[in-house]
């Protein structure tokens, strides 16, 4: 599966390291190069953000980690080293179905975008807890799980959790459903929480509540978190490090402040200028011309070149290399190569 010679290792303090991930979808319409050559890592207790616009591959990247990609999608290559609770380091992509199942929901948990669709409408909230715990620890009694559920629901600030465990999903409001999903995801105390646009469908005041909640829970349980979002405001508020994705590739990575104040990639720069900051006086929003390319026939060379104001000849032909600008600050762009 892996072709490159160098050995990938998980450094101290890292929970997850993904190297050269490649995911393709073999559709009727053609092969979609959804994720190409994506590498990133997550340290213990930190929040990284994957930022990008619709269809840039951020969701697929995180789903590929626990092999949640289904036909016609296929993980072509890559390594995903993960440090388990017992200290053992495994390559998630090489595990078989049963082994990866044991990690999902137990050590790596997910929160998805649409809270109203994530819960089975025919079962109570409490039942979801029971299932999730029982899937990994069969010896825990139902009664104890319900106690745990009530405790977790209280922690995610759901009023009268004793009543809510017996409720069906449709009896909860959108905000409460998302809190319940978070609580359910936490029921096995995961090491890594993957939050895929957890607040996109929610109102701003609820969004603020959920973001604060996630940060608080992360501190309390020492979890690591991968936050997927297209909202730069959310990134600025919560992330430690940021990976900017465009058309299935990472274009820039860096600390949160580096990305916001010293961004290097033209895409990141333009993206930041396209978002209005309400606290600043803005005369004119910058906009990125053109549209996101189809990933069936991605443009050769740098995938951003058709929309890039600084595109050079080489950008059209060769893929840009990964260039280190600073500690923790890398960019994939020809503008920064020394010649």
């Amino acid at each position: 599966m892996q072709s490159s010679g160098e050995k990938v290792v998980l450094n101290d303090g890292e929970v997850l390291r993904v190297e050269k991930l490649e995911v393709r979808f073999y559709t009727y319409a053609g092969v979609v190069h959804a994720v190409s050559n994506v590498s990133f890592y997550v340290r213990e207790g930190e929040t990284i953000a994957l930022v990008g616009e619709t269809g840039c591959g951020k969701t697929i990247t995180t789903r590929a980690i626990t092999k949640l990609i289904e036909s016609p999608g296929r993980i072509e290559s890559g390594i995903a080293l993960f440090r388990r609770r017992n200290g053992q380091i495994v390559d998630l992509l090489k595990l078989d179905d049963e082994e990866i199942r044991k990690i999902r929901g137990d050590e790596i948990a997910y929160v998805f975008q649409d809270p109203s669709a994530a819960l089975d409408p025919l079962y109570t909230v409490g039942y979801h807890f029971i299932e999730t715990v029982k899937a990994h620890r069969n010896n825990v009694s139902k009664k104890n799980i319900i106690y745990l559920a009530i405790k977790l629901l209280r922690e995610v600030a759901i009023p009268s959790p004793e009543v809510r465990v017996k409720n069906y999903p449709h009896e909860l409001s959108g905000g409460m459903r998302q809190r319940s999903v978070i609580a359910i995801s936490l029921s096995n105390m995961p090491k890594l929480l993957i939050a895929d646009e957890p607040t996109t469908n929610l109102d701003v005041t609820i969004q603020a509540q959920i973001l604060e909640l996630l940060q608080e829970l992360q501190k309390r349980y020492g979890m690591s978190m991968i936050l997927i979002t297209h909202n730069l405001g959310v990134v600025a508020e919560t992330a430690n490090r940021v990976y900017v994705m465009y058309a299935g590739k990472i274009v820039e990575e860096g600390n949160c402040e580096t990305i916001f104040y010293n961004s290097a990639h033209p895409y990141t720069q333009l993206l930041l200028k396209a978002v209005p900051n309400p606290l600043k006086k803005i005369e004119k929003l910058e906009s990125i011309p053109g549209t996101v390319p189809s990933l069936i026939n991605p443009p050769p060379g740098c995938r951003f070149h058709p929309r890039c104001p600084f595109a050079m000849d080489i950008c059209r032909k060769e893929e840009p290399p990964k260039i280190k600008l600073d500690d923790n600050h890398y960019v994939f762009c020809w503008l920064y190569t020394k010649r």
């Binding site: 559709t27 009727y28 026939n297």
Partner: protein, 363 residues
Amino acid sequence: MNIVYRALRILIKIYTDIRDRITPGWSQKNSSRIREWELMAYAFSKSKIGVLGGFMVFITVVLAIIGPIISWEPYWIYKTITDPKLMYLPPCLPPWCSGRPILGTDEWGRDIVAMSLYGFRISFVISIVVVFFGSVIGIVLGLVSGYKGGVVDEIIMRLTDIFMAFPSLILAIAFAAVLPSRIRGFLGENIWFRNILSTIFGLRPQEYPQLAALLSVWIAMVVVWWPGYTRIIRGTVLSVREHPFIEAAKLCGLSTWRILVKHILPNVLSPVIVMITFDMATATLFAASLSFLGLGPQEPVPELGYMISKAGRYFPERSLHVVAYLGLVLLFIALGWNLLGDALRDVLDPRTRRALEFREEKV
């Protein structure tokens, strides 16, 4: 490139040429639409089930049109009256017994293949008329009911509820049983109508009591047919109505009628076309069932269901070949439409076309 696709492309080309001649520049303005048709044609040609179904339907329609003309035996001559030995002759191939009908004869000594050619026409005419009227009534009521809402919707929906509470076959039997006496009188007086009807069915005008029975089968079936369409259309209209493009059309100052015709109808048409195709099969079998039960035309009209029910009395000793052959004919007609409908459901789904479009770009 395959033959079916090429043939369909030629048909599209002919159509666009005609439109171009009427209004110059039509094909240029509608290039997107033509492209969509070509993609549909391509998707269809790729579906084995669809091509087979289309072929069967094509044969059905051709036989329905020319059947009574090419049929080599008049249906109104009872041969067994003069020669009782001709009754239920078994199938026999020429080298062994030349001069005899290959697939055998029916009760009256008539060649069952020749008779089935009349049958093609009758069952096709019945099903197409029933599906046409049923769908038109259903579409109009469904559109009005779904778009208007309120009291109108409530009344129309209760009405469909009532009709759907009856088992459709029973209701149709009831109508088919009580109607003929009235229609017979009507046909007896209106000779021109009788003549038109007999030409359509490929029968003789003398058969007007039987025509009355056929007409009452029509009416009975239309009565039970429309509610299904109304339900489906209303449901689709309800979802289409919520789309903002309807509100945008209102803001453009369009009248309710124009919104219904220009904006809602085209968007509910795909499921209707699929349903109509499937219903051609259902209606064919339904009409055959009614006449099987003796509620359709009687002697000497060679209606498929009726002929099978007659042969059923001697089944299986003497009439196995008749039941088998005529049953296969009905199966052929219905299966053709069903296969076609099954393929059309995929072809008319915009997702299939989108997918094909991407692929075309690649090639």
